[in-house]
Symmetry: C2
Subunit: 265 residues, 2 copies
C-alpha cells in the first residue's frame, strides 16, 4: 500500500488560463478518470465549492463534488463520508485555517482522511487548506523577515504529516520571520514557505517536487546551534544560529528525510 | 597599525532617549576625548549635519563637525580633508546611497577615508551610509523574501571592505529577497541584513559584534550548491540551494573569515 501525495499550495493558484498546479494534481489523481472531492470549509464565501467544481470540470475529470462541511456534526454525515471512500483526491480550498481546525479537528472526517491518504488517496490544499495538512499549523502571525518572540501562534492541524510546518503566500506576505519563529521552538520540523501559485508535491517517499510560477523556500533548522527562544521576552528578536535555507523553483526537489535539495533536472 | 572598526547601522538608530548604538560608537572613538566628523551627503535635508552635531554633543565628545560635501569638487577641499586627518571617527548619515556613490566615488576623499581607516580611524554609517561602506553596494531593489531575477541593482560602493554586501531597514522593509539575489550572482561576499536601530561593529580581525534593539540577519552563500541566476529570465524566481542563515541579536558575534557565529555571551 503506497501513501497518497500531499500537495500544499501557496494560495492564489492559477485556475483558468494556465492551471499548471491544479492540472498536475488532476493528472496525479488519474486525469480524465479522476474523482475529486472539494472541501470548502475554510472559506466563508458561499460559492467557493461551486467555483472549484467548475475549475476541475474545465480541466477535465470524471467527477467532482464539493462537500461543504459547515459544522462538527456535518463531519459525521455518512453520505459525504461514503463519497470520500471512493475519490482519488481531496482538495481543501483557502479561507481561514482556524475554521478548518475548529470544525474538523478530531472528527470522523479527519480519521477517514488520514486512513484514505495512507491507502493512496491524494490530499491537496491551497492557502489555509495547505496550512491545515500538517500536525503543527501556523494559525496566525506577524509579517517581517526576522524571528521575534510572540510573532506566531501555532495550533494543531489535521496531522497528515508531522515533518513539516507549512506557510503560504510566502513571498507575497513577508512570512520568513513567522516561519523561523515557529521553528525556533523546536527545530524538528522542516519549514516550507510556499509562494502563491506554487506547490510542493510530496510523494510517499517524503521527497517533494516544486511546481508553479513562484518558489518554495525551505528552512532546515535541524543543525541549529543556538536558539534564544527560551530566554526571549515579549517582542524581542530571537537569535538563531545555523539555519539552512534553500529557494526551490519549478522542477527542483527536496528529500525531507535526508534533508537534501536537488536543482531542477 | 590596527585597522579601525567599520560600523554599518540599519537606519533609524535611537538618537536621544537611549542612543545605545551611537554611544558605543563614541566610546570606541575615545568617549569624551572623541573627535567625530559627520558626512551628511546622502541626505537632501539641510539640517541633517547639524542634527547629528547636536546628537553627538549630547552624548558627549571633544569635537564634532559636519562636513557637507555636496559636489565632487567639495571632495577635494583641503580644509575638510585636513580635518579628517585628525578625527577618531567618521559618521555617514542616511539618505540616498547613490548620492554618496556619485558624489564621492573615486575622489581624494575616498582615498583618504581608506587610508585613515587602515590607520585606525573608525567609520560608521547608517542606512545609506551603511550600504556605501562596502565594495559592492545595493543601489536599489524590490521588496519580498525570495530572490528574483532583476530584483536588485548593484553599484560600486566606497570599498572599505569587499567581504560584505550590506542591506539596511532589513526587517522593516522586507529585504531578504534582494539580499539573496545580490548573493546569487557571486556567493563570495557575506550578506548582512541590518534591522533598524541595530549595528554590526566589525573589528580589525573581521569579527563583528551585534548591538542594538533588532537583529542582524547573516546570509552565508559560500557553500551554495546551486544558483539558477545564470539561466533565469526577467522576473523569474531564482533557485538557490545551500544557503546558511543566522539571526543574531545584541551581543552575538560573527567571524567573517571563518564564517562562524557565536551566541551572546
Amino acid at each position: 500500500m503506497t501513501r497518497g501525495y500531499l500537495i500544499p499550495i501557496g494560495g492564489a493558484e492559477e485556475k483558468h488560463h494556465e492551471p499548471h498546479v491544479l492540472r498536475r494534481f488532476v493528472k496525479l489523481c488519474g486525469g480524465k478518470q479522476a474523482r475529486i472531492a472539494v472541501i470548502p470549509t475554510a472559506s466563508e464565501l458561499r460559492d467557493t465549492g461551486a467555483r472549484y467544481e467548475q475549475v476541475f470540470t474545465e480541466i477535465g475529470v470524471r467527477a467532482v463534488k464539493a462537500l461543504p462541511f459547515e459544522t462538527r456534526h456535518d463531519c459525521q454525515r455518512e453520505d459525504w463520508l461514503a463519497y470520500l471512500e471512493d475519490v482519488d483526491g481531496v482538495f481543501f480550498t483557502g479561507g481561514n485555517q482556524l475554521r478548518l481546525a475548529t470544525h474538523l479537528g478530531g472528527t470522523p472526517l479527519v480519521h477517514l482522511l488520514k486512513r484514505r491518504n495512507a491507502e493512496g488517496m491524494h490530499v491537496a490544499g491551497t492557502s489555509a487548506g495547505a496550512a491545515i495538512l500538517s500536525e503543527h499549523m501556523i494559525a496566525s502571525g506577524d509579517e517581517g523577515p526576522s524571528p521575534h518572540h510572540d510573532m506566531v501562534v501555532l495550533s494543531p492541524g489535521i496531522g497528515l504529516t508531522n515533518r513539516l510546518i507549512i506557510d503560504q503566500h510566502f513571498r507575497q506576505r513577508d512570512r520568513l520571520g513567522r516561519l523561523l519563529t515557529a521553528l525556533s521552538f523546536n527545530p524538528y520540523a522542516l519549514g516550507v514557505g510556499l509562494d502563491e501559485d506554487t506547490a510542493a508535491f510530496i510523494g510517499p517517499d517524503d521527497v517533494f517536487e516544486v511546481h508553479g510560477s513562484g518558489a518554495v523556500t525551505v528552512i532546515d533548522a535541524s543543525e541549529l546551534q543556538h536558539s534564544s527562544m527560551d530566554r526571549a521576552h515579549k517582542h524581542d528578536p530571537v537569535c538563531m544560529i545555523g539555519v539552512k535555507l534553500h529557494v526551490l523553483v519549478e522542477g527542483a526537489s527536496y528529500d525531507i528525510r535526508s534533508r537534501e535539495a536537488r536543482p531542477p533536472r
